[in-house]
């Protein structure tokens, strides 16, 4: 399969000056400045095939935005090679951006004061989309995003959810084969999120659109992406399937007990799990304790049996370890067991 994005040893450094302390320091700063070179993106390499939906995750400041901006031609890399849709994003910017769609969740593509359809009309001219192609494609997009009734309203009168759906439609107006979404569901309610996810899946199925998605909401990733690329301090710390992430790090289950008796402490519970690979953690609420155990039938039933025999309980839940927990673990422990 052809590669849509190819990144090799990509690096972006920012120079920032660190000021010395005190008034004396300020005067010295005037004469000679201390520059620190900080690599925001530190020699990363990866590639994305056509039709893939990739989740791009990392904490704030991990280098997500900077690398996305290099992939979209906004920033010039310090070193390394980027090929996206067969082009160099920065050098052939004007030609290149015709082949991508971009949604920045915190920034609007649409004109604030004019009706949505007027914005679309201007963008249609900007991207030089022929009439027939536009009507064909956009009527479908407008239907699936259900924004028909919003078209004659000015953007400033739309709610965030309505605006986001229009932003998405605007980004797809020229039907690009590659879509970059930076926090597309930030601040949206569940229904709008679901609608947007449905829509993205549909675009991917219908046009084989490749999607690169950054988000803090991991449920977006779980719903859409089979593959995740995880960044930390400018480096890729994990690149692979979401499912293997779960099987490598999320082997265990969590059994949550709510005890009737208020005197339960870690010390009284500890002996119950003796000689088993399990550990107790507090559940966050009074009288709730969680047993972290291996995902094996025997172990699970054994633990439940022992606990229930020893203490009265009012509630019991069995959880699979969530992707969020897994990712938190990875950031805390690093990738040593990968």
């Amino acid at each position: 399969m052809e590669k849509i994005i190819e990144v090799k040893e990509l690096r972006k450094e920012f120079k920032s000056h660190s000021s010395r302390s005190g008034l004396k320091g300020a005067f010295r700063d005037l004469l000679t400045r201390n520059y620190k070179v900080i690599p925001a993106v530190n020699d990363i390499s990866f590639s994305v095939k056509r039709g893939e939906m990739v989740g791009y995750i990392g904490e704030n400041g991990a280098g997500k935005s900077t690398s996305i901006k290099m992939l979209t031609g906004i920033l010039t890399p310090t070193s390394g090679a980027v090929r996206v849709n067969g082009m160099d994003p920065h050098k052939e910017r004007e030609q290149f951006v015709r082949s991508i769609g971009v949604v920045f969740g915190q920034r609007s593509q649409l004109w604030w004061d004019i009706a949505v359809q007027e914005s679309f009309r201007l963008l249609k001219k900007v991207y030089n989309v022929p009439d027939e192609v536009y009507h064909d494609h956009m009527s479908h997009v407008i239907d699936s995003l259900d924004i028909g009734p919003l078209l004659d309203k000015p953007v400033r009168k739309l709610s965030l959810g309505q605006r986001m759906r229009c932003e998405l439609a605007a980004a797809l107006l020229h039907n690009p084969p590659l879509l970059f979404l930076d926090e597309p569901t930030i601040g949206l309610d569940v229904l709008v999120k679901l609608k947007i996810r449905e829509f993205l899946k549909e675009m991917n199925a219908r046009y084989n659109t490749t999607i690169l998605l950054t988000t803090h909401d991991l449920s977006d990733i779980e719903a859409l992406c089979e593959r995740v690329v995880m960044l930390d301090e400018g480096k890729i710390i994990y690149d692979g399937g979401l499912s293997s992430l779960r099987s490598n790090w999320g082997e265990g289950k969590q059994i949550e007990f709510q005890f009737a008796d208020t005197a339960v402490t870690k010390e009284t519970l500890q002996p119950l799990l003796a000689e088993m690979e399990a550990a107790w953690t507090p559940g966050g609420r009074p009288n709730v304790w969680i047993a972290n155990v291996l995902n094996e039938e025997q172990v699970i039933s054994e633990v439940i049996g022992r606990v229930v025999a020893a203490h009265k309980i009012t509630d019991l839940k069995v959880h699979e370890i969530s992707i969020e927990d897994i990712i938190r673990n990875i950031y805390e422990e690093g990738v040593k067991n990968g």
Binding site: I100, R107, D113, I114
Partner: protein, 261 residues
């Protein structure tokens, strides 16, 4: 070709937005016309007290001022980039600009146009006709064409200086304070440059060539033959500076750091 089409699309959209607020529109036009009329009277009053400066008569100075208003109005209508740093760099709007398939500077021109400024062209021409009739200037058939050419040259000079200053924003964080200063220096181009000392004259001709917006091109219409060389250099200087400023802009875009979010 495509850029011309886009220009008219944006201009039409601009008018439409203005028309949706009908009362605002009327009030604005009336106030624009009024302020231009006040401007006109003000010019006459100010220059009423001068007679001859360095061999230029009062009417000639008024004429130069009138000419200056024309390129200045066109500049004001299309190059509102005095707040480029805050609006596009600090707020990160440049990100959006750079994801569209049009030259970034042209997009900013389209987005920031303020067509009301063009009323200044009317005032400028009115001032020129007023001064011209008192000077008994005659208009040859080719004068309107020369006028257009010189006005375009002057506009380009003005635009390039401001584009150059805006480009600094790509490298440094604080060029904003230079902008108001530039507007002040720009005003020196309204007066005959031979009233200044030679250093300032050199500065206004070759470094910050504001003299090419006012006095040099106007000298052509005033029949000052010893200034003709400078008058006809106007489009050349305009073009050279404009190409240079575009070059610097393009270089600056590669240095764009983006706004952190």
């Amino acid at each position: 070709m495509k850029y011309t089409q886009l220009f008219f699309q944006y201009a039409a959209q601009y008018m439409k937005t203005r028309l949706t607020y009908r009362t605002d529109m009327v009030v604005e036009i009336v106030s624009d016309l009024l302020s231009q009329a006040v401007n006109f009277i003000f010019i006459l009053l100010v220059f009423g007290h001068t007679s001859m400066i360095s061999g230029w008569s009062r009417e000639e100075i008024i004429f130069i001022y009138g000419f200056f208003l024309v390129p200045f109005a066109i500049f004001g209508a299309f190059f509102n980039i005095w707040d480029f740093n805050e609006r596009y760099i600090v707020k990160g709007e440049m990100d959006r600009i750079l994801t569209r398939p049009i030259h970034s500077l042209f997009q900013i021109v389209l987005e920031r146009m303020e067509l009301e400024s063009l009323f200044g062209v009317i005032t400028g021409i009115a001032v020129m006709f007023y001064a011209g009739s008192r000077l008994d200037l005659t208009i040859a058939w080719y004068d309107p064409f020369v006028f257009v050419l010189l006005v375009l040259g002057g506009t380009l000079v003005y635009a390039s200086i401001f584009i150059l200053i805006a480009s600094i924003s790509f490298w440094s964080d604080s060029p904003t304070s230079i902008m108001p200063m530039m507007y002040n220096i720009g005003n020196y181009g309204r007066y005959p440059v031979n009233i200044y000392n030679s250093i300032i004259r050199f500065l206004l001709t070759w470094i910050l060539p504001f003299a090419f917006v006012g006095v040099y091109p106007a000298a052509y219409f005033l029949g000052r033959e010893n200034w003709y060389l400078y008058a006809f250099l106007t489009p050349v200087i305009g073009l050279v500076f404009f190409l240079f400023s575009i070059f610097m802009w393009n270089a600056g875009v590669t240095k764009y750091r983006g706004a952190g979010n």
